[in-house]
Amino acid sequence: MAAGTTVEKLSIVKAINASLRKSLETDNKVLIMGEDVGKLGGVFRVTDGLQKDFGEERVIDTPLAESGIVGTAIGLALRGYRPVVEIQFDGFVFPAYDQIVTQLAKMHARALGKIKMPVVIRIPYGGGIGAVEHHSESPEALFAHVAGLKCVSPSNASDAYWMMQQAIASDDPVIYFEPKRRYHDRSEVNTTAIPGPLHAARVEVPGSDLTLAAYGPMVKVCRDAAAAAAEEGKSIEVLDLRSMSPIDFDGIEASVRKTRRLVVVHEAPVFYGAGAEVAARITERCFYHLEAPVLRVGGYHAPYPPSRLEDEYLPGLDRVLDAVDRALAY
């Protein structure tokens, strides 16, 4: 290992915290904004200790108004700042949707490239934590659909750290979806070596019979599914998409040309979801390589259910394996 290399085992929460800390240290234009991000350190403690060390001028507790948070972040970006704003929960982002879609996403184009919008919007997303309504949603498709935005989601601590570094460095607005039910999963982070580009998919588990493509919280479910399938002699490749806009179709295509079968998994509703886009494009690119239609596993066209029902709603191990079996049966 090279001198100065640091490898630590961190939770996703701690990895994001370390990444934000590093950016606050190295670039005095970086600001943290959001509800309760200061003294409390955020409801998930992602920003824990940052206000204490960097002050109220850089780690800013905001009024409880999401449109205001994003709208003022746009103004700060126009002034030369690089705001990293927190939306406290997925279901709270919609008051800011207009500012994100109508202003943030389009400002660069409106100015014919003469202004840039280096704003990161952190959204803890997804279910599985037994929460009340509006605290378990997966709205990524609503943002990925909008030109001008980029959407990413880490599935492990190393990506959480590095993708945040890359999102902050980006001159484009990035919606950074944090898999909240994996917040406390720990894994190794090498804080001296960038693992790869922000928008590239990564083979998480190599395999040869079928590709499971997922991102964020569902990568772990897919890993578990691959392990279970392996016990039955099936070789499943797990692809961590990492980025929902852009999507690394080349990476998926390379995997599918090898495995000839693809199942896309996400918590978000299947209808108009990322899986639909992946299925359409991969069918177009790999039509003669596919042995089965691309299948999707995800949420239903229903409001996210009360938490006592969420295990039925969320795509768990069994539903993923069922789709694997169906695809292999063709």
Partner: protein
Amino acid sequence: MTVDSTAARKPRRSSSTKRTRAKQPTADQPELVQLLTPEGERVEHPDYSIDLTPDELRGLYRDMVLTRRFDAEATTLQRQGELGLWASLLGQEAAQIGSGRALRDDDYVFPTYREHGVAWCRNVDPTNLLGMFRGVNNGGWDPSTNNFHLYTIVIGSQTLHATGYAMGVAKDGADSAVIAYFGDGASSQGDVAEAFTFSAVYNAPVVFFCQNNQWAISEPTERQTRVPLYQRAQGYGFPGVRVDGNDVLACLAVTRAALERARSGQGPMLIEAFTYRMGAHTTSDDPTKYRADEERELWEAKDPILRLRAYLAAENLADEDFFTTLEQESDALAKRVRDAVRSMPDPDNMAIFEHIYADGHALVDEERAQFAAYQASFAQEGH
């Protein structure tokens, strides 16, 4: 309310040394800061005063006349099919020139889509404003060149951008100020309420300049509010003031004071410029469907340009040469704008894919290449 429409051209008082007090406010017409009456008479106000040189006074007059001429030309260009749409500022020249001339170069403006007079004050070339109305771009100018942000179409959104920008100004320790324009309709938007909240709690150096032109397309101000709009500021913890929006001197004086206040760390202020949209909302609108001619006639008697002209004439501050030269200048401006619009090229087809992302995006690259290949296929077929 009765107004002698001939009075605008015949000021009753012609001495600048003898100034009367403004009229007392009444219940339905709360106090309005006024320094120049509709008849062109200079009046005093206890809180706001202004002392301008003849050059400056003529300058304000020139700004208003040229802005009105440019605006009229744009309306004509729309009628002739050269522009797809135009949002006229007719009647709001004093509000825009008065506030616009209060700004320092380092101040920053966040306009709506109707601030052609403010753009003029910021030295934004008028033809720059016309690209979006012709349909060749969505704005396209560099806001940092003149500290004049892009026109914002969705109502009220820019008040938050102005607030954020002002928060940045304060963080930088600069003494610039920011001004956010919006209208009576926008005052109902949540973003404006949030901008008031954020600017107040962070004490941001921003002035909210509301041109209450009485109409939000077809809806009168009564459909937006039950209190005079300037009074909303009180609930947020900063001052609000209503100014005669057709009085360029009052608009200048009040905006100057508000900007100075912001610069000196005293936080935001709301100015409600009480004015009137003399024309339609845009060239697509038909105000005869919802408002009476009589109302427009009442406001014609309060015209911002006529009252300053009456004052200049009564005080012998401008001679015939000045007015003749200005007329020629107006015609030259109109011609320049007309020529510029008519020779404005359509954008290249590939512009669809430009400037979507600063750092690029794989899908945009893919679709650009597909589109280019598709376009090229026609050229090949032509062989």
